[in-house]
Protein backbone atom coordinates (compact mmCIF):
# COMPACT_ATOMS: atom_id res chain seq x y z
CA UNK A 1 0.00 0.00 0.00
CA UNK A 2 2.00 2.94 -1.20
CA UNK A 3 -0.98 5.15 -0.47
CA UNK A 4 0.08 5.40 3.13
CA UNK A 5 3.51 6.59 2.23
CA UNK A 6 2.24 9.73 0.57
CA UNK A 7 0.75 11.82 3.28
CA UNK A 8 3.23 14.51 4.19
CA UNK A 9 2.04 17.10 6.64
CA UNK A 10 2.19 20.77 5.83
CA UNK A 11 5.57 21.21 7.45
CA UNK A 12 6.92 18.13 5.80
CA UNK A 13 5.78 19.49 2.48
CA UNK A 14 7.75 22.65 2.99
CA UNK A 15 10.83 20.59 3.61
CA UNK A 16 10.14 18.34 0.65
CA UNK A 17 9.92 21.38 -1.56
CA UNK A 18 13.41 22.34 -0.55
CA UNK A 19 14.69 18.82 -1.09
CA UNK A 20 13.04 18.58 -4.49
CA UNK A 21 14.51 21.89 -5.50
CA UNK A 22 18.02 21.23 -4.31
CA UNK A 23 18.13 17.53 -4.99
CA UNK A 24 19.84 16.98 -1.71
CA UNK A 25 20.49 19.09 1.32
CA UNK A 26 21.68 19.12 4.89
CA UNK A 27 19.50 20.10 7.79
CA UNK A 28 21.31 23.39 7.93
CA UNK A 29 20.61 24.15 4.30
CA UNK A 30 16.97 23.25 4.61
CA UNK A 31 16.59 25.29 7.73
CA UNK A 32 18.19 28.32 6.16
CA UNK A 33 15.86 28.07 3.20
CA UNK A 34 12.80 27.77 5.39
CA UNK A 35 13.96 30.65 7.54
CA UNK A 36 13.50 32.97 4.61
CA UNK A 37 9.78 32.99 5.17
CA UNK A 38 9.21 31.23 8.46
CA UNK A 39 10.57 31.42 11.95
CA UNK A 40 11.37 28.28 13.87
CA UNK A 41 14.29 26.77 15.68
CA UNK A 42 17.00 24.73 14.10
CA UNK A 43 16.17 21.65 16.12
CA UNK A 44 12.61 21.84 14.95
CA UNK A 45 13.70 21.40 11.37
CA UNK A 46 16.11 18.70 12.44
CA UNK A 47 13.43 16.77 14.27
CA UNK A 48 11.03 17.05 11.37
CA UNK A 49 13.63 15.70 8.99
CA UNK A 50 14.47 12.85 11.32
CA UNK A 51 10.82 11.93 11.46
CA UNK A 52 10.56 12.15 7.69
CA UNK A 53 13.44 9.75 7.50
CA UNK A 54 11.75 7.34 9.91
CA UNK A 55 8.56 7.56 7.90
CA UNK A 56 10.36 6.94 4.67
CA UNK A 57 9.58 10.34 3.21
CA UNK A 58 13.29 11.11 2.97
CA UNK A 59 16.47 9.17 2.51
CA UNK A 60 19.64 10.20 4.22
CA UNK A 61 23.32 9.62 3.95
CA UNK A 62 24.75 9.59 7.44
CA UNK A 63 28.19 8.37 6.50
CA UNK A 64 29.69 11.62 7.61
CA UNK A 65 28.96 13.77 10.59
CA UNK A 66 26.71 16.11 8.72
CA UNK A 67 23.87 14.03 7.31
CA UNK A 68 22.64 14.65 3.80
CA UNK A 69 18.98 14.22 2.99
CA UNK A 70 17.08 13.52 -0.21
CA UNK A 71 13.37 13.29 -0.89
CA UNK A 72 12.20 9.72 -1.08
CA UNK A 73 8.89 10.38 -2.79
CA UNK A 74 8.65 12.06 -6.14
CA UNK A 75 7.26 15.50 -6.55
CA UNK A 76 5.06 14.31 -9.36
CA UNK A 77 3.52 11.41 -7.47
CA UNK A 78 2.92 13.62 -4.50
CA UNK A 79 1.24 16.27 -6.61
CA UNK A 80 -0.91 13.67 -8.30
CA UNK A 81 -1.96 12.13 -5.07
CA UNK A 82 -2.84 15.33 -3.28
CA UNK A 83 -4.56 16.78 -6.30
CA UNK A 84 -6.69 13.70 -6.68
CA UNK A 85 -7.63 13.85 -3.04
CA UNK A 86 -8.69 17.43 -3.45
CA UNK A 87 -10.79 16.66 -6.51
CA UNK A 88 -12.53 13.96 -4.54
CA UNK A 89 -13.10 15.81 -1.33
CA UNK A 90 -13.96 19.23 -2.68
CA UNK A 91 -15.20 18.81 -6.24
CA UNK A 92 -17.10 15.56 -6.00
CA UNK A 93 -14.60 13.91 -8.29
CA UNK A 94 -15.00 16.35 -11.15
CA UNK A 95 -11.61 17.34 -12.46
CA UNK A 96 -13.05 19.80 -14.94
CA UNK A 97 -14.85 21.61 -12.16
CA UNK A 98 -11.59 22.09 -10.38
CA UNK A 99 -9.84 23.17 -13.54
CA UNK A 100 -12.42 25.74 -14.41
CA UNK A 101 -12.41 27.17 -10.96
CA UNK A 102 -8.64 27.29 -10.94
CA UNK A 103 -8.64 29.23 -14.16
CA UNK A 104 -11.60 31.38 -13.30
CA UNK A 105 -10.26 32.57 -9.99
CA UNK A 106 -6.83 33.61 -10.78
CA UNK A 107 -5.81 36.29 -13.12
CA UNK A 108 -4.41 33.80 -15.56
CA UNK A 109 -2.37 35.32 -18.32
CA UNK A 110 -3.30 34.97 -21.97
CA UNK A 111 -0.12 33.02 -22.53
CA UNK A 112 -1.08 30.49 -19.93
CA UNK A 113 -4.49 30.08 -21.47
CA UNK A 114 -3.00 29.54 -24.90
CA UNK A 115 -0.60 27.03 -23.46
CA UNK A 116 -3.39 25.09 -21.89
CA UNK A 117 -5.49 25.15 -25.03
CA UNK A 118 -2.56 23.78 -26.98
CA UNK A 119 -2.18 21.13 -24.36
CA UNK A 120 -5.83 20.16 -24.60
CA UNK A 121 -5.90 20.10 -28.38
CA UNK A 122 -3.01 17.71 -28.29
CA UNK A 123 -4.82 15.51 -25.80
CA UNK A 124 -7.89 15.13 -27.96
Amino acid sequence: MKKDLIKPTESELEILNVLWEKGQATVKEVHEKLSEHKISGYTTTLKLMQIMHEKGLAKRDDSSKTHVYQANISQDKTRQHLLRKMVQSLYGGSTSQLVMQALGNKATTREEIEEIIQFLEKMK
Copy 2:
Protein backbone atom coordinates in the same frame (compact mmCIF):
# COMPACT_ATOMS: atom_id res chain seq x y z
CA MET B 1 -8.75 38.16 8.89
CA LYS B 2 -11.28 35.81 7.41
CA LYS B 3 -8.40 33.62 6.33
CA ASP B 4 -8.38 31.92 9.68
CA LEU B 5 -11.99 31.01 9.42
CA ILE B 6 -11.49 28.84 6.40
CA LYS B 7 -9.50 25.90 7.52
CA PRO B 8 -11.84 22.97 7.93
CA THR B 9 -10.24 19.68 8.78
CA GLU B 10 -10.85 16.62 6.66
CA SER B 11 -13.75 15.45 8.80
CA GLU B 12 -15.24 18.88 8.90
CA LEU B 13 -15.07 19.02 5.15
CA GLU B 14 -17.07 15.83 4.86
CA ILE B 15 -19.74 17.35 7.02
CA LEU B 16 -19.66 20.61 5.12
CA ASN B 17 -20.23 18.71 1.92
CA VAL B 18 -23.42 17.29 3.34
CA LEU B 19 -24.55 20.69 4.58
CA TRP B 20 -23.79 22.32 1.25
CA GLU B 21 -25.71 19.64 -0.56
CA LYS B 22 -28.75 19.64 1.69
CA GLY B 23 -28.75 23.32 2.54
CA GLN B 24 -29.53 22.45 6.12
CA ALA B 25 -29.54 19.28 8.13
CA THR B 26 -29.79 17.79 11.56
CA VAL B 27 -27.00 15.81 13.16
CA LYS B 28 -28.94 12.68 12.45
CA GLU B 29 -29.25 13.45 8.76
CA VAL B 30 -25.59 14.29 8.44
CA HIS B 31 -24.60 11.19 10.30
CA GLU B 32 -26.75 8.98 8.12
CA LYS B 33 -25.24 10.49 5.02
CA LEU B 34 -21.71 9.99 6.27
CA SER B 35 -22.51 6.45 7.35
CA GLU B 36 -22.97 5.51 3.72
CA HIS B 37 -19.24 5.40 3.24
CA LYS B 38 -17.73 5.70 6.67
CA ILE B 39 -18.17 4.09 10.03
CA SER B 40 -18.22 6.17 13.17
CA GLY B 41 -20.46 6.75 16.12
CA TYR B 42 -23.34 9.16 16.22
CA THR B 43 -21.80 11.19 18.99
CA THR B 44 -18.67 11.61 16.96
CA THR B 45 -20.60 13.41 14.27
CA LEU B 46 -22.45 15.36 16.91
CA LYS B 47 -19.26 16.49 18.58
CA LEU B 48 -17.69 17.49 15.31
CA MET B 49 -20.71 19.57 14.41
CA GLN B 50 -20.73 21.21 17.82
CA ILE B 51 -17.11 22.15 17.35
CA MET B 52 -17.85 23.46 13.87
CA HIS B 53 -20.49 25.63 15.41
CA GLU B 54 -18.06 26.93 18.02
CA LYS B 55 -15.52 27.67 15.33
CA GLY B 56 -18.04 29.44 13.20
CA LEU B 57 -17.92 26.94 10.37
CA ALA B 58 -21.58 26.19 10.85
CA LYS B 59 -24.65 28.03 12.03
CA ARG B 60 -27.33 26.28 13.98
CA ASP B 61 -30.91 26.79 14.93
CA ASP B 62 -31.40 25.38 18.40
CA SER B 63 -34.86 26.74 18.96
CA SER B 64 -36.25 23.26 19.03
CA LYS B 65 -34.91 20.14 20.61
CA THR B 66 -33.41 18.83 17.43
CA HIS B 67 -30.89 21.40 16.27
CA VAL B 68 -30.66 22.28 12.62
CA TYR B 69 -27.31 23.14 11.12
CA GLN B 70 -26.25 25.10 8.08
CA ALA B 71 -22.83 25.73 6.61
CA ASN B 72 -21.50 29.13 7.53
CA ILE B 73 -18.81 29.33 4.88
CA SER B 74 -19.58 29.09 1.21
CA GLN B 75 -18.55 26.15 -0.87
CA ASP B 76 -17.10 28.45 -3.47
CA LYS B 77 -14.94 30.44 -1.07
CA THR B 78 -13.72 27.28 0.54
CA ARG B 79 -12.80 25.74 -2.79
CA GLN B 80 -11.03 28.89 -3.83
CA HIS B 81 -9.11 29.13 -0.64
CA LEU B 82 -7.95 25.54 -0.52
CA LEU B 83 -7.17 25.46 -4.20
CA ARG B 84 -5.05 28.56 -3.90
CA LYS B 85 -3.23 27.06 -0.97
CA MET B 86 -2.48 23.96 -2.99
CA VAL B 87 -1.21 25.97 -5.94
CA GLN B 88 1.10 27.79 -3.60
CA SER B 89 2.38 24.89 -1.60
CA LEU B 90 2.69 22.29 -4.33
CA TYR B 91 3.00 24.11 -7.64
CA GLY B 92 5.05 27.10 -6.68
CA GLY B 93 2.15 29.38 -7.46
CA SER B 94 1.66 28.23 -11.04
CA THR B 95 -2.00 27.62 -11.71
CA SER B 96 -1.39 26.38 -15.22
CA GLN B 97 0.99 23.75 -13.89
CA LEU B 98 -1.72 22.46 -11.66
CA VAL B 99 -4.30 22.55 -14.41
CA MET B 100 -2.19 20.62 -16.83
CA GLN B 101 -1.35 18.03 -14.30
CA ALA B 102 -4.97 17.70 -13.32
CA LEU B 103 -5.93 17.10 -16.92
CA GLY B 104 -2.96 14.93 -17.71
CA ASN B 105 -3.39 12.54 -14.85
CA LYS B 106 -6.95 11.65 -14.94
CA ALA B 107 -8.75 9.88 -17.68
CA THR B 108 -10.62 13.00 -18.54
CA THR B 109 -13.46 12.46 -20.96
CA ARG B 110 -13.57 14.11 -24.35
CA GLU B 111 -16.66 15.97 -23.28
CA GLU B 112 -14.88 17.47 -20.33
CA ILE B 113 -12.01 18.55 -22.52
CA GLU B 114 -14.38 20.20 -24.97
CA GLU B 115 -16.13 21.93 -22.13
CA ILE B 116 -12.91 23.31 -20.82
CA ILE B 117 -11.78 24.46 -24.25
CA GLN B 118 -15.07 26.30 -24.67
CA PHE B 119 -14.54 27.83 -21.30
CA LEU B 120 -11.06 28.99 -22.19
CA GLU B 121 -12.07 30.39 -25.55
CA LYS B 122 -14.67 32.44 -23.82
CA MET B 123 -12.11 33.72 -21.36
CA LYS B 124 -9.77 34.97 -23.99
